[in-house]
Amino acid sequence: MFDLGPNAGFIWISYGAAVLLIGGLIVWAWAGEREQQQRLAGLERRGLRRRSSQQEL
């Protein structure tokens, strides 16, 4: 696809590491919020309320 010369391996591994690490960060960030949203919804279904829930809807 691209002729990256004799150091192509170093270049592709660098970009691959970037994809893996940044992809992992994105999954961590999105899954983290989703998990907490589900946890919060579960607590609310069980009737638990926040102290400030009456001021903040």
Partner: protein, 334 residues
Amino acid sequence: MSGLSEPQTVRAPAEDTMFGPALRGWLAFMVLAIGWSVSRYYVGVANLEANGNPGWDTWLWWVPEIMVVVGILGLFILVVSLEAGNHSRIANLANPTPFMRMSGEILPRLALVTALLIAAGLAMSFRAPPDDLQGQAARIMFIHVPAAWLSMACYTLTAISSAGYLIWRHPLADVSAKAAVPIGATFTLLALLTGSLWGKPMWGAYWVWDARLTSVLILFFLYLGLIALRQAIDDPGRAGRAAAILSLLGAVNIPIIKFSVNWWNTLHQPASVIRAGGPTIHPALLIPLLVMAFAFTLLFVALHMKAMRAEILRRRCEAMIAIHVRGGGEAANV
């Protein structure tokens, strides 16, 4: 949710209509600027290869890149001005509920623009001509340099947030500090890995104990220490204060990293972009580097916002459980 009589339920739709058109306009502006920047860059490189005159020696060439920068700054001005209009004090921005509402509206657009900018940066990175001395291996720079900048910027944000938490005891400052650390650690690891992979073909070694590399390795250990410290202390308040103190102590490492290449005789090259006298990199390589740097910066902002939202929700859950436990009931099952 309960509370039909609560006034805030009436106010929310009006705020949505204030943010909506402005953010849609911002999105259109950014798509235009990014698309124009990529197409102009391809034309410039083609001209460079054909007749040696790319045409980017006049300021007019840089209009699309200037538009991207103005767009990024504009987003923050937009948010602050609209939030300040909605609430009587800008300080309200630092409260969790306005933050959750604001970030919920901004994040989808910000994620889209970030993805576009990363795609544009990658397209430019692989179109850039090889460097005269380093050849194709210089393409690692487009990943390594933004990651290294962000590793320091992220720690600086952590230290500022920590100072905010220690001085004003503001919970959102602690949330910001905690959320930034894993992101900063990952960017630091990426900078170390790509630096090592760049060093082998250029220096003949994956690692040397020179001042720049060693100080960045210390930064990585500081990030790991901050994560470990929070996990080692059960009480969240004490953990937050201890992590804040450690992050402020570690902030001394940031100027050491930045100026290590000037203070000591290092194998790592000296500053070549942010330096007195202007950048020493050719525009053919500088433009993709700057686009990637802006893309990584926006990515960091989006990831930090998302991680802060998760932490705020986690604290809400913990607070609900704590209230329930104090009031008796079925806490053990929660």
